[in-house]
Symmetry: D2
Subunit: 273 residues, 4 copies
C-alpha cells in the first residue's frame, strides 16, 4: 500500500514532503488484519493531475486496497465557526491566533447563547451571532444548526460553549466538532470538573480536547495536558490555572485538525506530527 | 496559634528552620472556622526541653487551641516494610534509594506473595519474606498483618503489590500504607488501567501515590504525575512508559511522607514543601 | 523573628491568612547567619492599627531584627505599564487577563516603538503611546522614561519589547521591570534564541521571565518553563510553540509579582506560593 | 525515493511495520536540496532475500539515490558496555532495565575507575572491570579503549562516568558513545552544573543525553527533560531531584538508540518515534 501510494505521487511528478504511517493491531486477529493509516503530503506544483481530478485519478488505488481516502489541499481553508458562552479565554485566544495567521481556516462566524462577546468579535472582524436559549433549548439548538448550515460551515469549535448539543445536531457533524473539556478525561465527566477535582484531592488538573459525539464527554480524544496543583488551590485557583491549560490544549488540537493530521476511528484518534 | 507555637520554640531556645501553614476554608461557614494546618521544623540542639518531655511541655498550647499534634524527630527513623509482587521496578528503585541513603527510614523487610525477589533483597541486605496466597487469601492477609506487627513496622509501602488488602488489615494502619496506582486517579480505577487507557484513547497516562483506605483506589492522594503517549503506544508501550512514572511518583510520595510533610485529612492531603 | 511578627499581628487583633518562611544558608558561615525571608499575609479588618500607621507601628520589630520590610495592601493596585513591539501574543494575553480581572494592577498604559497595537489597546480601553526610535535610540529611551515617570508607573512589563533599555533606564526601576526571554536562560542569551536552539539541536525549548538588570538577560529569574520539540521543528515551528510558553511564563511571573510573592535578592528570587 | 524503497520491500514479499521520513530543509538552497531521512521497519519472515544478502540486494537503490544505508536486524543485539564512576543511580537503573529485558542489547561489561560497583554488577550477572586512574590518566584511557576493543563492544554508555575521554578515544566510536549530562545543555557546560544552576537561580533543572564528541558537552543531543525547582532547593536537593531526571533521560535515549530510531547528522539528531 505504501509502495502504491508513493508510486502514484512519483509517477505523476509529485514530491512527497511528509509521510507517516500507523498500523493499529489491537483489533487484529487470525483473519482480521490491523487497521492501516497513512498520511502523505506532497507538492501539487507541476503535478500531472489537476486538483479537481485528483480523487478520480487515485480511485483505482483506493479500490484495490479498500481504502478510505480524504484528499485535502492546504490552500483550501475550511470554513470554521466558534461557539462560545460567557467565559472569554478560549475565544479571545482563537481570535488572536486567527488574527496572527496561525489558524489554517476561514473564521466565518462566532455564535453564542449570550450577547457578551459581540464587541470583541467585531473588533477582530468576525461576525457575531447571538442565539439566546430563552424558553426553548430545543429551538435554540435548531437555530444554531440552521445558522451553521446556512453559512456552509465545515468545522465547529466549542470554545467553552456551555450548552449540550442535541444528538440530532451532533450527528450532522461527525468528527467535525471539537470541544474543550476542563478535566483530564475520563476523570471528572460532566459539570464542575474543578469542584470535582478539589473534592477528590488530586495533585494535577487537566484539559482534554475531543471530538463531540452524542455521548457527552466520551468522544475521541485529540489532545490532553495537565498542570500540577496543590492543597493551596481552591476552586478559584484551579479554575484560573485550568484556563491556561484549556487555551493551549484546544489550540493544539485545532491546529492539528486543521492541518489534517488527526484521523479519528472508533473512539480513538491517530494524531500524526 | 502561629504566635503561640513560634513563642514556644523561641522561649525554649530553639531555632525554626522551616515553618509552613495552610488554612482550608472549603468547609468553613458562619460558626465553623476553616481547618488550620501547620508544620514547624526546629533544631533540638540546646533546646531547653528534652526530646522525651516535648509532648508534655507542648500539651498546654495544644489544649488551648484544640490542636492535633504530632511530634517527630528526624533522627528517629520509622520502621518501614515494602510489599511487592512480581513486577520488580518499584522495589528495585526503593532498595536502590535506601542503599544510597535517600530514604529517611529503616527498611526492615520486604514481603511478597511470590518468591521472585528474594535474591535481590538479600543482595541489598534486606530480609525477604515469602507469604504465598495458596488456597486462602484471607489467611495470607492475616499472616502478612502478623508479620508486620511482629516486626513493629510503622510504615508500609505497596510497591506494585497486586493483592487487595482486607479492610481489617487497612484499618490497622490508617494513613500509614502508601500504594502506587498506575493511572491518574480517579480515572481508571481497578484492574488493568493501561488497557483501560488504551481503550479510551487517552493522550496522557499517569500514576498516583495514595494512602490506602478500605475503599479501593479512593484514599487520599499524595502525588501524581503524567507522561504523554500517542496512538503508537499499545499496552506494552504504555506499561513500559508507565513504569518510569510509577517509580518516580512513588518515591516522591514516600520521601515527602517520611519527611513528615504529608498531612492527610478526610480524603485529601496537605503536602508541604 | 517568626514569634515577634506573629505576635505583632495577634496583639493587634489580626488574623494570619498565609505565612511562609525561607532561610538561605548558601552564604552562611561561622559568624554569618543565613538570610531569612518571611511573607505574612493578614486581614486588616478590625486591625488595631490603621493602614497609614502600619509601617511606623512595625518599625520597632524591624529595627530589633535589622529587617528589610515591605508592607503592601492588596486593595492598593500598583500602576502598571506594558511595553511591546510588533509581536502581539504577550500583549493580547495581558490585555485579555486584565480584561478578565486576573491582574492585580491598574493597567495605565501600553507603549511601543511601533504603531501596530494602537487599535487593540484602545479596544481594551488602555491608552496607547507610540514612541518611534527614529535616528536616536537614546532619545527614545529617554522619552520612554519620561512617559513612565509622568504617569507615576510603579511596575513595568516588557511583553516582547525588542529594544534594549539603557542602564540609566534600568537603574531607575530596580526589580520592577519584568521581561520575558524566549529561551531557558542561561542558554541562548541574546538575539534569535530559537535559531540558536535549532542550531544546537536541543529537544526542549523554554521561556524565562526575569527582572531586568543592566546586564542583558542576566537578571533574577522569576519563572521558567519548557516544551518538548523534535527534529521536525524548524525556526517557524519553534517560534510558534515558543509563543505559547512565553505567554504563560510571563503571566505566571507577573501574577506572582503583583501578589507580592516574589522576593528578589542578589541574582536570585524567592517565589512563595 | 520513498516509492523505490517501499517497492523493494513489497517486491520481495516483505511487510512494512513502521516507516518514517523527515526532510531537513534548513541547509537547502537553489542547487542544494534538503537532507532526506527515512527509517523503514519491515518483517523478514518469508522475505525473498536472506539477511546476509540484504545489503548487496539493496545497493542498487542506494547507489541510484546516493543514500547512506544502515541495515539492522532486531534479533541481532549490539554489544554494550557501561562506564560508571561512584554515583550508582544510572548504573543501577540500566542493570535493572537489562534484567527486566527492556534493553535491546547484550550488556557485555561494566567498567569503572573505582571499585565500588563490583558486587552490584556481579549480582546482576555482568562482568565488572576496575581500571583505576592512578598516576596516568592517559594510560587508563588507553586501557579502557583496549578493553572495549578486546570485547568487541559496539555501543558505549557513560552512566555518570566522571572521566573526560581523550579525543583519540572518542574518534574510535563516532556516534556510538552516549553520555548523560546533568543540565539542560547548552546551559551549564562542564563541572558542577547543579552548583552553577543554584548560583544562576534557575527555576528548572535538566538533564541531557547526547553522543560524545571530542568537544566536551557539545555532541548531538538525543533526549532532554527538565524538572521544576524552587528557592528551597540547595545543591543537595538539586542533585537529588536531578538524579531522577538523569536516570529517565539516559534510559529514554539509549532505548531509542538501541531501537535504531536515532539518526545523527552534523551536530543534530533525528529521533523517530
Amino acid at each position: 500500500m505504501v509502495a502504491s501510494v508513493a508510486d502514484f505521487v512519483w509517477r505523476n511528478g509529485g514530491n512527497i514532503i511528509h509521510a507517516e504511517q500507523h498500523t493499529d493491531l489491537s483489533q487484529a486477529g487470525a483473519d482480521q488484519p490491523g487497521l492501516f493509516f497513512q498520511r502523505v503530503e506532497f507538492e501539487l506544483t507541476g503535478f500531472a493531475v489537476q486538483r479537481q481530478d485528483l480523487a478520480e485519478a487515485f480511485q483505482p488505488i483506493a479500490d484495490q486496497f479498500n481504502m478510505d481516502v480524504l484528499i485535502r489541499c492546504s490552500a483550501e481553508l475550511p470554513r470554521l465557526a466558534v461557539l462560545a458562552s460567557k467565559a472569554p479565554h478560549c475565544l479571545i485566544d482563537l481570535l488572536s491566533r486567527w488574527h496572527m495567521g496561525e489558524l489554517a481556516a476561514e473564521l466565518v462566524l462566532v455564535a453564542s447563547n449570550h450577547p457578551d462577546h459581540r464587541e470583541l468579535c467585531e473588533f477582530f472582524g468576525v461576525p457575531f451571532y447571538e442565539l439566546p436559549v430563552g424558553d426553548s433549548p430545543a429551538e435554540q439548538d435548531q437555530q444554531m444548526q440552521d445558522l451553521l448550515k446556512s453559512k456552509s460551515i465545515e468545522q465547529v469549535v466549542l470554545a467553552r460553549y456551555m450548552r449540550v448539543l442535541s444528538p440530532e445536531f451532533v450527528e450532522q457533524w461527525p468528527n467535525r466538532i471539537i470541544n474543550i473539556h476542563h478535566s483530564f478525561l475520563p476523570a471528572f465527566v460532566g459539570a464542575n470538573p474543578y469542584r470535582q477535582a478539589l473534592e477528590r484531592g488530586v495533585k494535577v488538573i487537566g484539559a482534554t480536547a475531543h471530538f463531540v459525539t452524542a455521548d457527552l464527554d466520551k468522544g475521541p480524544i485529540i489532545a490532553q495536558d495537565v498542570a500540577p496543583v496543590s492543597h493551596r488551590d481552591g476552586v478559584t485557583e484551579l479554575t484560573r490555572k485550568g484556563r491556561d491549560l484549556e487555551v493551549v490544549v484546544l489550540a493544539r488540537a485545532l491546529e492539528a485538525h486543521l492541518d489534517h493530521r488527526v484521523l479519528p476511528y472508533g473512539n480513538r484518534t491517530v494524531v500524526f506530527h
